[in-house]
Amino acid sequence: MTWEAVIGLEVHVQLRTRTKMFCACRTTFGDPPNTNVCPVCLGLPGALPVPNAEAVRLGATAALALGCTIHHTSVFARKNYFYPDLPKGYQISQFDQPLATGGRVTFESAERGRVQAGITRLHLEEDAGKLVHDRFPGKTAVDLNRAGVPLAEIVSEPDLRSPAEARAYLTTLRQILIYAGASECSMEQGSLRVDANISIRRPGESRLGTKAEVKNLNSFANVERALEAERVRQIGLLEGGGRVAQVTLLFNAGTGQVKPLRSKEESHDYRYFPDPDLPPLVLDDAWISARRDALPELPEARRSRLEVALGIPAYDARVLTSEAPLADYFEAVVAAGVEPKTAANWVMSDVMTTFNETGGFPVAAGRLADLVGLVRTGTLSHQAAKRVYAEMAQSPDGDPAAVAERLGLVQVSDQGALAGWVDEVLAANPAEVARYKGGETKLMGFFVGQVMKRSKGKADPKGVQPVLAERLK
């Protein structure tokens, strides 16, 4: 029996502003508790919200990057419920008149190839504070530094068909939002949060099954794991003749299991109504056009440009544009004079390794270009250059040539030295020489390797071969 999973994702991203959505408190992550607070975000009597222009700009930019339509008029609404991290007893959000609707994220699905997942809406809202449960026995601690931070909520259509697709969607969404400059999108720092909905139905069935919501997901990998666990659970239920109840589940990263929220609350009645403290957000065509014009080059376009203008393969372009800083670095290396494919190889290997480990580029693009130049002129072998790179990554200010000297890696191209090593190798391997002269020309590689070993990597392989060829005639 086959089943189809139907998945939708609700993503909250923190917009990259300096101040909160409705007050001028800083949004800095990690400050001592309750130090970035004021009457407004503390919900004190008499305080009033005033919207942050940059949050609106970034929200609109994100919406445009996702191909959404921006509405000329949108309305802030109060979402009413009680929770200790919600100072006013309501969250200022947007309800039936959101900032934007109707976008899409195009990503590669392992099962289905290129998929265009719809985005239902993107709206602006304020974040809640943070609760700490295990610091004071019998108590919950409340930190309101985060209360009021600007968020964009991005809701997808239920267009995803597998946990893996959910992950791919998220990876692409995150990439687009980082490129657009709208958010840092870091799940570790809480600037990107995901809630997932999943239901099961028979393939070809048009109605949706009852969906479950999964929360408390702290990485894309865990989104995939959680959805997989839930998919299996729901299928198990249905195959056993049972029905799926509409539940909210929490994912436990340690066990890889999902379990229902401890008490089943009646579903919330948020009693949405337009916030009377905030006039409608009115954005005219000129303003929207300006946001569109200011959109940075997005991943798809950049990928294309690198392929076409720089002539690098599609695979390379995809890898290089996976993170905007990586693509920026790559283009800087090319601009410094390195041939694109060579630059791509370097950036996709050594550079990307350090970037993934440290999040940065310890070797400046210009320095890498210098290093590559040394390989091109034969001063260094490629292997030696990799070792020089590794060294430079530790102590960033080194000049490649000086580092190579210090490590004793400068290649020897001097004919006399090369000839010496070649002679030593040929003398040490008479059997192979005989076999080579007997027709096994592929042993050339063996001899080159031996010369490299004997020279402790210093011989210039390009110079070695002709010398060998001469000697072996």
Binding site: G43, L44, P45, G46, P87, L144, L278
Partner: protein
């Protein structure tokens, strides 16, 4: 007189006025501190040392702000309202925080957690509400001016009951930053005074855009109005819906006299209609409680105010006990009504519908003013001040006290109540209403009427 000397005098009058129960917080020390600031200032400022009392839902750093409620007992705000800052910059001295119906919900100031306020004219009667304390202090001559707040008439109505001037500005002209919210789309800081001139002086200092309040208009502040010498060339409309056949005869007589004075001043009087008037009070009692239910959700015992925890000892027990015990009966009732009309299944039938009817009410006024009428004249209240305890048994009976003032609040218009006579010794107020943003003209015309009508004279 130096401000220091004035402060001593005000202190003396406040002490003498204690039986009115009109104040919640005042001290000679704080008065002296205000005076010291005024005396040290390089210039007198537009208000030159005027002592002004504040309704206790306007926050100040120096005194507690309780909104007449136990749930904020002892709460002292860490910031001061914009309007108060502007008063101080203009040289005013803050005299006291005044008693009020709890969270501004009421029409008699009998719903304060700290006891009712007595009408200085007749202590067995109510001063009106919710700004009864401020009205009483001005009526008793303790201070020349006081701030109140209006959501559905809470300054005009007590002004009428106490025989003083009560001026509600156009919505959005005075910053609400620092006014504890009740009905956000209705709330207006408003002014009590003994004269129209003083109301104008105080209001002009407070009006103007505030970047901390997104509902303030980005339009110029109101200049101090110049009183009109007469009303020639002006047309005053009398909306028939505000003159029912069974209007209290004393009120009717006072309005008649006012109308005659207007004609003598050269004004033209005509009958007009505001057909959706009957829907004003029901509309108000959907919109205001709904907004209030959300505005009062922040009083949960988590971050400020006294805290109570119920027997279960969990977070829910904290919320329910703090709120259940901290809020009085009228506030609890309105929160429940407000929550109900917003709840699933009822939003369209109540709140959304009420906001649309509100548009019709506002449109009635717009059309009448567009037809060539400059102002509207109505009674402020259907009767003079009633006795304490008379209307507390039935919530709806109390709501009907607002019948003539409510619609103006829904439409966001400026309106002033003037004392225009006495009926069996009790003050009667007449209400003058102007088009949106015409606050200056309104007060200019009101000044002319004030001169022409003997406020203290018996009408029958």
């Amino acid at each position: 007189m130096s401000a220091a000397a004035a402060a001593k005098e005000v202190g003396g009058r406040l002490a003498a006025a204690e039986p009115l129960n009109a104040t919640l917080h005042w001290s000679q020390a704080l008065l002296d501190a205000e005076a010291a600031r005024v005396d040290a200032a390089p210039a007198a400022g537009a208000l030159g040392g005027m002592p002004v009392a504040l309704k206790d839902n306007i926050v100040t750093v120096e005194q507690p702000t309780t909104c007449g409620s136990r749930i904020l007992e002892g709460y002292t705000s860490p910031f001061t309202a914009t309007a108060v800052g502007r008063l101080r910059e203009a040289g005013a001295m803050i005299a006291a925080k005044t008693n009020m119906d709890e969270f501004a919900m009421g029409s008699s100031t009998e719903h304060s957690a700290f006891g009712r306020v007595r009408n200085p004219i007749d202590p067995e009667r109510v001063p009106g509400g919710s700004s009864g304390g401020s009205a009483a202090l001005v009526a008793a001559g303790v201070v020349p001016a006081a701030l109140g707040s209006e959501t559905g008439g809470s300054v005009r109505q007590p002004a009428s009951f106490c025989g003083v001037v009560g001026m509600k500005p156009s919505y959005g002209r005075v910053s609400r930053y620092g006014l504890v919210a009740f009905g956000s789309s209705l709330d207006c800081i408003s002014v009590f005074s003994r004269t129209v001139a003083d109301a104008g002086r105080v209001l002009s200092v407070m009006t103007g855009h505030d970047p901390l309040d997104a509902t303030t208009l980005d339009r110029p502040p109101m200049p101090v109005p110049t009183p009109l010498a007469d009303l020639r060339g002006l047309r005053v409309g009398l909306p028939r819906e505000y003159y029912p056949a069974d209007l209290h005869p004393g009120v009717g007589a006072a309005l008649q006299r006012t109308r005659a004075a207007i004609v003598e001043l050269g004004g033209e009087v005509c009958e007009v209609s505001l057909p959706h008037s009957p829907y004003a009070v029901p509309t108000y009692y959907i919109v205001a409680p709904a907004e209030a239910a959300a505005n009062l959700a922040r009083y949960d015992g988590v971050r400020y105010g006294p805290r109570k925890v119920g027997p279960e000892g969990d977070i829910r027990a904290l919320y329910q006990a703090t709120r259940g015990e901290g809020f009085g009966a009228e506030v609890r009732r309105r929160i429940l009504v407000g929550t109900y009309v917003l709840s699933a299944g009822y939003y369209d039938a109540y709140y959304r519908k009420a906001q649309r009817v509100r548009a019709l009410i506002a449109e009635d006024f717009r059309q009448v003013f567009a037809s060539g009428v400059d102002f509207l004249l109505t009674p402020t209240t259907p009767t003079p001040a009633f006795r304490a305890g008379e209307k507390t048994g039935d919530p709806v009976a109390m709501y009907l006290a607002d019948i003539f003032v409510c619609a103006v609040s829904l439409a966001g218009l400026p309106a002033v109540s003037l004392p225009v006579g006495r009926s069996e010794g009790l003050p009667v107020g007449a209400q003058l209403i102007a088009p949106f943003f015409e606050d200056e003209r309104l007060l200019a015309a009101a000044a002319a009427i004030e001169r022409a009508v003997p406020a203290g004279a018996e009408v029958r």
